[in-house]
Amino acid sequence: MRTPLTWLRRNLVVIAGLGTLAYMILPNVVVTVFSFNNPSGRFNYAWQEFSLDAWKDPCGVADLCGSLGLSLQIALWSTLVATALGTAIAFALVRYRFRARGAVNSLIFLPMAMPEIVMAASLLALFLNMGIQLGFWTILIAHIMFCLSFVVAAVKARVLSMDPRLEEAARDLYAGPVQTFVRVTLPIAAPGIAAGALLSFALSFDDFIITNFNSGNTVTFPMFVWGSAQRGTPVQINVIGTAMFVIAVLVVLAGQFAGNRRKKAQPK
């Protein structure tokens, strides 16, 4: 017999899982709803009335869009550099044997196994002691540093799962080393490299702790939000948060859709 209690017991995992998902999504819902708010004070924490003002004028707050542009710029550059350096390291680790392999592996692993604040503080110690002016360049240097390890991890996983016989086959067919690399190795490693690059971009764009320590007076987007938590939160912050969310979800869904179509297009 199916009583409500047995139904509950059978679907306990589903209910608990969806509950967790709701917990994870709720703040995004609040951010979106409150992008249509017209708060009465300086802080956008309590619902007042519906308004489209912020959406009509997303850059209406001083420095907001400037900080957004700066964050995008830093994320782009650190992604480019970290992906290039990290991919090279990943290939060296998987494809070659050399001395100090273990040391290199732990050097890559350590930045990921350390509280961010420790790296943030030590970088500041370096810059202070060397008398380096904090700003755009120190932020960029720091972001490249912590993105590197994540790129190495992503690319390494992909290259490890690659069948080495494909490259042997290319060489047997008289492809030179450069040709083999460009025509065979790189296309197969591409998803790993892309994953590493996307992760770098997201990590750099949203980084707060390391940037907070090493930015001086330069204001990135997360720094702007942090400052606004003290001075007053403009509704435009929610507008930008919502827009970013929608754009990213659309990109991911489009990617999945394209992937599904490709899979259907080439049956086994």
Partner: protein, 309 residues
Amino acid sequence: MTATAAPPQAPAPAGPPVHKPSTRKRLVPYWLLLPGILWLLVFFVLPMVYQASTSVQTGSLEEGFEVTWHFRTYWDAFTEYLPQFLRSLLYAGTATALCLLLGYPLAYLIAFKAGRWRGLLLVLVIAPFFTSFLIRTLAWKTILADGGPVVGALNAVGFLDVTSWLGMTEGDRVLATPLAVVCGLTYNFLPFMILPLYSSLERIDTRLHEAAGDLYARPATVFRKVTFPLSMPGVVSGTLLTFIPASGDYVNAELLGSTDTRMIGNVIQSQYLRILDYPTAAALSFILMAIVLIMVTIYIRRAGTEDLV
């Protein structure tokens, strides 16, 4: 595994007569490593050295700091901020436990029960990342607002009585209490728990579940004896990815907490950026690093041996 792109550096006499690789070829891996490793040496290792030197300096901002090998700073900093250290470990530990408790059902759901919804659910798990985490953390100020529906509901079911008995809330407030900070930490690091859990659950061969069922194991027993042990790698990496960043976090305590919920991250941040007492800040940061590394090492050892049993 065999190296294919370059012949391995095996001792020359053994093995078939391969032609010796040229020096240029043997240097290839080092050239590949050079720029990235140099970057990490200069901007990860060297900063540690500078921070170590800062931590044993004495002096003042006006007269400048000098290395005097003043190791007492470590002891003084540790004893003065012991409550904040303990609080950090307590909050981070609680948040990690909650992440595991909340994250496991969702990872399990996605891995085994989602069917064609799997892709969508995975997107929903990582979707919050697309909005800056500071904005999302600020949203908790709205959700947990005094007298709001969430606090009202928690009060109505007696949840706040339990948490105030545990010392995590006071009266009918949630904001500016330890509960709010733990709630924010749990929220912020949940995806770091769910993704590794999912990837290790997803690799489990579901025929093992069927086999256990055929051997008259009840669902709870199947979970305890088959599923959970096989998901241990995910549990270990998930708890590490949650606990390590949570222990050094100061964003949640600053935005959702009060002066009574300051974590060690808040202390390091204000010592470095506001009070400008660099030696104490550097010492605190090294003590935090040492505590985390020791705990992580012990944990990996213990989890590793349990895994073998």
